[in-house]
Symmetry: C2
Subunit: 278 residues, 2 copies
């Protein structure tokens, strides 16, 4: 029940849509408690382009190791994709940094979630998983032990779905839409749609786990943004949460809301005063 220092030095891993938006927020007047201190992207031209838009003139690093060794960095925001979580999240926490995870699907692979939780519990580092593009994570985690059923139905435009088992789901005039293209566990959903279904990972980690949480994905050309419907039931009652999110203008796979949720999580992790919500 305490706070990060007033001035949190943040490193951003991944300078795509999400990383850039978060860096820009931290760089703004609205965010007094933090500043962007370092940037990393596999494609260094993206880090440089982002640096040139920021007032705080962060360091562009050539490797993640440079960030791990930088004693000045206290929080690492991962916006680099699920592979980065698998490769670097433990090192980040072992290096004594706090971590915010955007590619939540990466936490479902192997034992990484339990290992990270344990390392962070020992070290005092904190790991933040924002609610992302859905609401109701608060209720799902509060009622976790009472829930029997959690089902996520996600509807997306076929052009924005990337199924790694078959490639892009292109709109195909021979096909009938809307069409259910997947029904299975959150664990399997994250494996097949690693760039689409972070919310499935977040819901399963908050609730009854990646094997018991079921996911249905519907390709629907009538949907312009992302539609997420959560149904959960158990001895505490029944919940239904529906979100129709506006897509991010620069990357239609990303909900604007996922970025807003990460910003709100940052505000609370570094802020003082009244904290609303579970």
């Amino acid at each position: 029940m305490n706070h990060m220092d007033r001035q949190i030095r943040v490193a951003i891993l991944g300078c795509g849509t999400i990383g850039s938006e978060l860096a820009t927020f931290i760089d703004s007047d609205e965010c007094q408690q933090a500043q962007v201190s370092a940037l990393y992207d596999l494609d260094q031209s993206r880090s440089i382009s982002l640096r040139n838009k920021l007032l705080s003139n962060p360091r562009v690093t050539e490797s993640i190791e440079e960030i791990l060794l930088d004693a000045d960095v206290s929080l690492v925001i991962e916006a680099a994709g699920p592979d980065a979580i698998q490769s670097y999240s433990k090192d980040i926490v072992l290096a004594g940094k706090h971590l915010m995870v955007m590619s939540v699907g990466g936490l479902l692979h192997g034992d990484i979630y339990a290992e990270l939780d344990s390392i962070a519990s020992e070290s005092g580092s904190q790991i933040f998983v924002p609610s992302g593009a859905v609401g109701g994570i608060d209720a799902i985690k509060a009622c976790r032990d009472q829930l029997d059923v959690v089902i996520l139905t996600t509807k997306k435009h076929p052009d924005t779905i990337l199924d790694i088992s078959v490639g892009n789901i292109k709109k195909d005039s021979d096909r009938k839409y809307p069409r259910e293209i997947f029904y299975g566990t959150a664990l399997d959903a994250v494996k097949r749609f690693p760039f689409n279904i972070n919310v499935a990972a977040t819901i399963s980690l908050a609730g009854i786990g990646p094997i018991r949480t079921m996911v249905k994905i519907v390709a629907d050309p009538q949907v312009s943004g992302n539609v997420h419907e959560i149904y959960a039931s158990g001895s505490s009652g029944i919940m239904r949460f529906t979100m129709e999110n506006i897509p991010h203008p620069e990357n239609p796979r990303t909900s604007y809301m996922a970025i807003l949720a990460a910003i709100e999580t940052m505000k609370h992790s570094s802020g003082r005063g009244i904290r609303i919500g579970t």
Copy 2:
């Protein structure tokens, strides 16, 4: 971004259904980080009865002032009603204690919310307002600046509604049900239904405020628990959250879920490791 001490000493204000449930959880093996240190209730027999059920043998106090002066107490859980918030919340925070607010409606009176936020920001005390009997507070607070409309519709059995302007809304065979008995701002809802509509206060504080958040209350004898429906829309999209909560067996005005949300908030405020949700 740090934690309360491993052993948080908790004082409970109000030993009714909610205070007793929370004390029992803190007293259990499941809660390693906290222990119940003091109890207060206007009706001292309730404090004594609760103490006798707890292993930690907390002190039964005769006044709230005794708790304020007790340097051992680091967290005060208010479960005593909106009047206690108005009368004592500032003193609690000024005394350097953390505060968890269950009677959230009490925060809507006068300037108390802004004052508390300011005192807590200065002192480093934290004030927790759990999500209560609804889900989606996470999304509402993340999208706060993008939302134009937030409407809560609450359906309750007539026997569980206490309208202080007319007394209990008894089931009346001359009346047609379901019947809308209130439509107005969250601020007015909290004034007329102080024991029913904490969720309206929580939603309004998380979102667009108690004057712009609208509340509809429907008396419906077909409803056994509480049904809360939230509709919110704006430039980030449209959200709909529906909760059908099982009522608490000992107090049908209380949703079991409100207690679960408070327990989850406690776990996170005192815990370490991975934190899921905004």
